[in-house]
């Protein structure tokens, strides 16, 4: 329910006032099409006379001069140099309301100044120019300036040339201390430590320029550089640690976050940085890191609420990926193309779906990934395994012959004696089983897809305790004696499945079968299962804690009998330890009495899956992921004990096998050799130590391409004509794909371009927007606003660059440097422009409130994460560990419980040092953002964000004043001031001040603080206030001195430290 209060309303319509002064004509009266005319046409005409044919009126388009196949161009209504004779001018000046454009009912109206501009433009020839950002940047000449001495690098020449044109002077340079803090915040997101500051000051005293240059290099090489700049990219990559939507379950993508940090620290060339994120999996011999990089596209939200059609939300994710590539890489808005052709930019709806086609061929894969330590540990274990296996071989010189003999029988041996006798001809085991495919309907919570091989893939909502039913019609064989259930891998499942649990495992509580004749002559009846076998039969063991259903009952997983014992507390489990759990498995259920098929049989398989946890809104399911049913008429079949991977190798002639394949066969065969039991036991223990790893959201290309269609109005239920992979005509062309293109390569000769070709196209030197977009955002991070203030849109509706040549120069410089972002950072912080003082006079403020002309240094409140990090760093609490899973600093528990959160969420508050990690590592739930970050404008990761808004609100004040971790920072800063600050209170105050602001207090500031300190000391000492609550640690360890005076002093110092931490300057870069 909403209730909202009206007041007398004055309409506040957002006008496009921002660009007003930019559209002012140059003094000489020359009209610039891009600057002066295009914005008028775009705002007033192109909705009906643009390139979107579906909404076009009068068969006229004014986005181009020449007519196109589909409509008349502007040349039809413009006679160059003849405004009165031009219909365009006639219509916009018509006195008859029926004639006048734009029409009254459009709500649009041209101002006299706009009419005048159009008039003048036609008078000057009425020519069109290509939009600036659709032409690839060329290196512009560095302009000549009067005050050449001010120029440190070409950036300054461009900035100064503009200032001189405007009759303005740059500001003086900032102080060494101010620069040290500015640099540290910009390059690492952390203030300098007092030690770093002292070293810099000492160096700067003798040679300021060298000291500054060295400081820049030191900070660029700091691992914190990657953390700080990763955060900016992660906004664009809409990184979050949860799925979003209703369930908003935790997800595993932190390795992607770490990949970004590492790539930026290593100064990975920006073109490679993009290629790996868009198509790292398609690079030849893709590494784990390159596959993890594709998490960029997987950061889309996932909807698993009950009753969804997973395909609908896969499409939503696809739209999101297009939007992210548009904003993050191209700097263009492509979202419109989802439903219709772009109204303003020359992006047709077809173009949108052609680019979409590059991305539409992926599985939503969840690979197993391991940390470097896990990799190293397992490699060592593998060596041990190899040694033990070599010892086995050495102990039995005839092992090869014995293994060959075993293989011979295994090849011939079907899965039971009975099956062999009942089959004629060549009795291979597979031919005895007939795959039966159920007819699926879309009802129920969990959804299922029927795949081509007859297997079923579970998707969408994953209830933790439920029974799914699959009905098949059997017409042959003549009898059904047994049913086989195969569990299969699928890239879309965690760790590749075969289950849906976070480990890719599953548990089958019971397996039940009903049968009825197809003709309906009898009701369905339960069929008794005499006996069950499986390839894996783990020993019975209690469920892991994540599957706790809070029933208090002893629930276990174990051998296959558990799925046929009528006991809901027991289930067949497949978890033979990490990695080996994530392989195909099979179970065979032999019916007590074979069923005669006669005219056909309807079988219903009930998969009881009750071994998940209590909370279906969390990662607690234990469901089957991909599986397949088969039936046989063979009597007494048993499950194939040979692992599927080994079974596949056995089909290859021994002399054609690779050494790895031979080892794999040996690795299984040795387990069948009775006298090796002891070594096998040791080897088993080693396999059990395989690291669990983490499942990471990545892309993997499908072997069978999906056909992409243009979607009418973006509706996935309304596919129109097919769309083949391609790029918009207004951008640079796509190179012919190389013959070595990935698995989507089509038939011989006709190689179909794939996602890797698209990724390379995105960072092609000829791309007019890619380099501009990223240097613009780097600039934005330094100066608060980009050279184009709409970084998400460099297109025709975006803002024009304040310094177009500078933008192009930086873009070309980036590409010429081998796409080195650190090179751009070095140039920017090396410029005199950057090093100006941020102080502003009232006159300059009035002239240039947003500092677009750059006559002063940047000054603005730091980003949300840095607000937190500054407090942690200044207090000394900061735990500078890099990377790893996200952490859970203190937060009010109610946030993660209904009714604040939809479902109960896990917030494993870290009480150790992890709570003091940089805010970058704070676990990010999309539906419940971390409050201390949200109030400072951190985006929630629902969509790509390339420009944060920057607010200044009372909730921010409440956060830094009262939030427990900030108070703890104040207490810690107080302790350090007392212990490390010096001999007297003045020195200690100065020390605390310097830790936060990197400068000493002025005499006046010191006096104000000293007075406050004295008053609080007196009050706490005199019993006017109790010092204990303020100095007691949050984690309830009262580390407080018994000494009353000392306690009073610490409380007073805590109050002072809280003040310094709350100063505007503390959370500001200036």
């Amino acid at each position: 329910m909403n209730a909202c209060r009206l007041t007398v309303v004055s309409l506040l319509v957002a006008a496009a006032a921002l660009g007003a002064d930019r559209t002012a004509l140059a003094n000489d009266g020359a009209v610039d099409f891009n600057r002066d005319v295009r914005p008028i046409l775009a705002a007033n005409c192109l909705t009906c006379h643009g390139q979107d044919a579906a909404h076009r009126e009068a068969d006229l388009r004014l986005d181009r001069l020449e007519s196109a196949d589909d409509a008349r161009g502007a040349e039809a209504v413009i006679i160059p140099a003849d405004p009165p004779g031009s219909e365009l001018i006639a219509r916009i000046t018509a006195s008859d309301a029926d004639q006048r454009m734009p029409p009254a009912d459009s709500g649009k109206e041209l101002t006299p100044a706009e009419i005048e501009t159009l008039h003048r433009w036609v008078a000057q020839g009425g020519q069109y120019e290509q939009h600036w950002s659709f032409v690839a940047p060329q290196r512009p000449a560095t302009p000549q300036v009067a005050d050449a001495a001010w120029v440190r690098n070409p950036i300054d020449a461009f900035v100064l040339a503009r200032l001189e044109r405007e009759g303005l002077r740059p500001s003086p340079p900032a102080s060494a201390q101010a620069l040290a803090r500015r640099l540290a915040l910009d390059l690492t997101g952390l203030p300098p430590t007092v030690e770093e500051l002292a070293a810099f000051e000492a160096a700067a005293a003798s040679d300021p320029a060298a000291a500054y240059a060295n400081e820049v290099e030191r900070l660029l090489a700091s691992p914190h550089f990657g953390e700080r700049w990763a955060r900016t990219w992660l906004d664009a990559a809409r990184y979050a640690d949860s799925d979003g939507f209703e369930k908003d379950k935790p997800r595993f993508v932190w390795m992607y976050r770490d990949w970004v940090i590492n790539a930026l620290n290593a100064d990975m060339p920006y073109d490679q940085f993009i290629i790996e994120q868009v198509a790292g999996d398609l690079l030849s011999d893709a590494t784990q890191d390159q596959r993890v990089a594709t998490g960029f596209l997987r950061n889309s939200m996932i909807n698993e609420e009950g009753g969804i059609d997973p395909e609908q939300f896969r499409m939503e994710a696809m739209f999101d990926r297009m939007d992210a590539i548009g904003k993050a890489v191209l700097g263009l808005t492509v979202q419109c193309g989802q439903c219709h052709s772009h109204k303003y930019d020359p992006l047709e709806q077809t173009d949108y779906y052609r680019m979409f086609a590059f991305l539409n061929n992926c599985d939503e894969a969840q690979m197993s990934a391991y940390t470097a330590a896990e990799h190293a540990e397992w490699a060592a274990t593998r060596r041990l395994i190899a040694r033990l296996e070599a010892e086995l071989k050495a102990s039995a010189p005839d092992w090869q012959a014995r293994m060959a003999a075993w293989e011979q029988t295994e090849q011939l041996q079907p899965r039971s004696d009975a099956a062999r006798s009942s089959s004629q001809g060549n009795p291979t085991s597979a031919s005895n089983w007939t795959v039966v495919k159920p007819v699926l309907d879309a009802s129920g919570g969990q959804k299922h897809y029927l795949l081509e091989d007859g297997s079923i893939l579970a998707a969408g909502y994953a209830p933790t305790q439920h029974t799914t039913e699959f009905t098949v019609e059997v017409k042959s064989p003549a009898r059904v004696a047994a049913v086989r259930l195969e569990l299969l891998n699928d890239p879309n499942l965690p760790h590749g499945g075969p289950g849906r649990s976070v480990y890719g495992t599953c548990a089958l509580t019971e397996f039940k079968v009903d049968a009825a004749p197809l003709d309906g002559s009898a009701k369905a009846e339960g069929v008794k299962i005499a006996r069950a076998t499986a390839d894996v039969n783990p020993p019975g063991r209690p469920l892991d804690a994540i599957y706790d259903d809070r029933s208090g009952k002893p629930r276990v997983t174990g051998p296959i009998e558990y799925a046929n014992d009528g006991n809901e507390l027991t289930a067949w489990g497949i978890d033979m330890g990490p990695r080996r759990a994530n392989t195909p498995h099979n179970a065979v259920f032999v019916l007590e009495k074979p069923l005669e098929v006669k005219g056909g049989l309807r079988l219903t398989f009930h998969l009881v899956q009750n071994h998940g946890g209590w909370n279906s809104d969390d990662n607690q399911n234990h469901n089957l992921g991909r599986f397949r049913f088969s039936v046989t008429d063979a009597e007494n079949p048993v499950a194939d004990p040979v692992p599927a991977a080994v079974r596949a190798i056995l089909a290859i002639p021994p002399d054609r096998r690779t050494p790895e394949q031979a080892d794999e066969v040996f690795g299984y065969w040795r387990t069948t050799v009775p006298e090796w039991a002891e070594t096998n036991r040791r080897l088993e223990a080693l396999w059990q130590s395989h690291p669990r790893g983490t499942t990471q959201l990545v892309l993997s290309e499908r072997t069978t391409p999906r056909q992409t269609h243009r979607l009418e109005r973006g509706d996935f239920l309304k596919p129109a004509e097919p769309a083949s992979p391609g790029v918009p005509a207004f951008l640079h062309p796509l190179d012919e794909p190389k013959a070595s293109a990935g698995p989507t390569g089509g038939a011989k000769g006709a190689v179909r371009p794939n996602r890797l070709d698209f990724a390379r196209w995105l960072v092609d030197r000829r791309s007019p927007t890619t380099a501009r977009a990223i240097v613009n955002r780097v600039w934005q991070a330094y100066f608060g606003a980009g050279l184009v203030t709409t970084p998400e849109d460099l297109g025709t509706q975006g803002a024009l660059p304040t310094h177009p040549e500078l933008l192009d120069w930086l873009a070309v410089e980036l590409m010429d440097s081998g796409w080195s972002l650190k090179h751009i950072h070095r140039l920017i912080v090396g410029s005199a422009t950057y090093q100006q003082s941020a102080a502003v006079t009232p006159e300059l403020l009035a002239r240039d409130p947003a500092n677009e002309l750059l006559a002063r240094g940047p000054r603005f409140r730091v980003d949300a994460e840095a607000v937190r990090d500054i407090a942690l760093a200044a207090s000394g609490l900061l735990y500078r560990k890099l990377g790893g899973p996200s952490v859970y600093p203190p937060a009010p528990e109610f946030l993660f419980q209904p009714p604040t959160s939809y479902g109960p969420k896990t917030w494993n508050h870290n009480s150790g040092p992890d709570q003091y990690r940089r805010a970058l590592y704070t676990f990010r739930y999309r539906s419940v953002p971390y409050p201390a970050l949200e109030s400072f404008d951190a985006p929630r990761g629902d969509v790509a964000c390339v420009r944060r808004v920057r607010s200044n609100t009372p909730l921010q004040a409440l956060t830094t004043l009262n939030e427990p971790l900030y108070v703890q920072c104040a207490r810690e800063l107080a302790r350090r001031a007392i212990a490390e600050g010096g001999a007297n209170d003045e020195a200690r105050l100065a020390y605390a001040f310097r830790r936060c602001l990197s400068r000493p207090p002025s005499a006046e500031e010191l006096a104000v603080l000293a007075d406050f300190l004295a008053r609080q000391k007196a009050r706490f000492r005199d019993g006017g206030a109790d010092p204990q609550p303020l100095i007691a640690d949050g984690d309830a360890q009262a580390a407080v001195a018994d000494d009353r005076a000392a306690a009073a002093d610490l409380a007073a110092w805590t109050a002072v430290a809280r003040i310094v931490l709350n100063l505007d300057e503390t959370i500001t870069k200036q």
Binding site: A3, L11, A14, E246, E305, P898, L958
Partner: protein, 412 residues
């Protein structure tokens, strides 16, 4: 009313549906229809409660809404709502932001952007959650999207600190807080003199407003000073979090200049146990909802306060589960549902629109979510086509680019 209340049990009386109880729906009705959980070809289930006509206007309501029935002449009932989403999170986001895709500003944020706030001491857009769960769409329901974040909703609680971190930390009493602020502000003022950045002045204001909020928010949230008859009217009990308390709080906040109050009561997703659960929901929500309208009216505030009641979609006339069991329920249904509005320039006693005999499709005066938003904005004094914000090269609007109409039939 998150979760989607059944229009068939509350507002939209369908005697024909009762007649066809237990039979399959007409084939043409469910052609191409997608349901969330059920097979669309499930049997029809007749309405489970009795309907009667109330008030001078003779508006039809179910027996589950005895309190609303006494306020019905001040309420406009729209029986012809339609939406395009039929899963909770997207449909709630659609209702809140006009788009199924996340990242757009909410209705409350647009309102604040357009009208500003009248309160200097309280957030201008306040959100409560009172159901068994939180809203499916999460805090994106009150997000600011691409609008300045200052316009996003602030979630208040009815127990503990109403606003996060509102209370002073342990050991900081009011005097210390005040003296601390004085020093912070004094030092910031000095810095303002040196740097000349007006943002510092804004920071000083923010700290002062935060301090005022520390006093005013608890005062606004304290129901103990409400007279007994008012508490009774809502069924509110001070200190016991409830939907009733929250309705009363909404009135108190609106009186104090809060521009937009939104209460999420996520409780209506009756896939099963429709009869007992919807009954219990109505026992909790009917009286306070009606009381809010009546209380605003008796204070002369109803003409300037718009009250909107509704969920994100409706429910199927087809049964979910065993129709003969108490566990029977209804699935999600976007094609027809009911909302009501009162006050703020809405004509009372109006019932707009009609659905077919099964409550399945709207047959007259369809009102889609854009139309609803256009109408709300109109009541707030805006032309929905002109309340816009430039982002990604477009003049973005709550009602998007598709046509939307102001539903003049329900305007006074």
């Amino acid at each position: 009313m998150a979760g989607a209340p059944s229009h068939l049990e509350l507002f939209d009386n369908k005697p024909v549906l009762a007649k066809y109880d237990g039979s399959l729906p007409p084939a043409e009705l469910i052609k191409d229809y997608r349901a969330a959980f059920i097979n669309p070809n499930s049997t029809l289930m007749g309405p489970k409660f009795k309907f009667a006509r109330y008030g001078q206007s003779g508006a039809e309501l179910s027996e589950l809404l005895p309190h609303l029935s006494t306020a019905v002449d001040d309420v406009a009932i729209v029986k012809s709502m339609v939406t395009t989403a039929f899963n909770h999170a997207p449909a709630q986001i659609m209702m809140s932001t006009g788009s199924q895709q996340f990242g757009k500003p909410s209705l409350g944020a647009w309102t604040l952007y357009g009208l500003g706030s009248e309160s200097q001491n309280l957030p201008g857009f306040v959100v409560f959650s009172t159901g068994a769960k939180g809203p499916s769409g999460g805090s994106a329901n009150w997000g600011s999207g691409f609008l300045p974040t200052v316009h996003q909703g602030v979630q208040l609680r009815t127990s503990g600190d109403p606003v996060l971190y509102l209370s002073n930390p342990p050991g900081v009493d009011d005097r210390l807080q005040r003296e601390s602020l004085d020093v912070i502000n004094a030092l910031n003022r000095r810095q303002l003199d040196v740097m000349g950045d007006p943002e510092i002045a804004t920071r000083i204001n923010s700290f002062e407003m935060a301090y005022r909020m520390q006093a005013s928010a608890p005062e606004a949230m304290n129901l103990a000073d409400e007279p007994e008859h008012i508490l009774k009217m809502y069924g509110a009990e001070p200190g016991k979090p409830s939907f009733a308390n929250t309705c009363l709080l909404a009135r108190r906040l609106v009186e104090r200049g809060v521009r937009f109050v939104e209460i999420f009561h996520e409780a209506w997703d009756q896939h099963g146990y429709l009869v007992p659960d919807i009954k219990r929901n109505c026992e909790v929500t009917d009286q306070p909802s009606a009381a809010l309208v009546k209380d605003l009216k008796q204070r002369g505030l109803l003409d300037e306060t718009l009250v909107i009641w509704g969920g994100e979609f409706g429910r199927t006339p087809m049964v979910q589960g065993d129709p003969n069991d108490a566990g029977a329920g209804r699935d999600h249904h976007p094609n027809a549902f009911t909302m009501w509005l009162a006050g703020g320039g809405v004509k009372g006693g109006v019932t707009l629109g009609e659905s077919d005999d099964f409550g399945f499709n709207v047959t007259r005066d369809a009102v889609n979510v854009r139309d609803l938003h256009a109408t709300i904005l109109h009541l707030l004094g805006f032309d929905h086509a002109r309340l816009s914000f430039k982002f990604q090269g477009l003049e973005q609007r709550l009602t998007g680019v598709e046509p939307a109409r102001v539903v003049h039939e329900i305007l006074a």
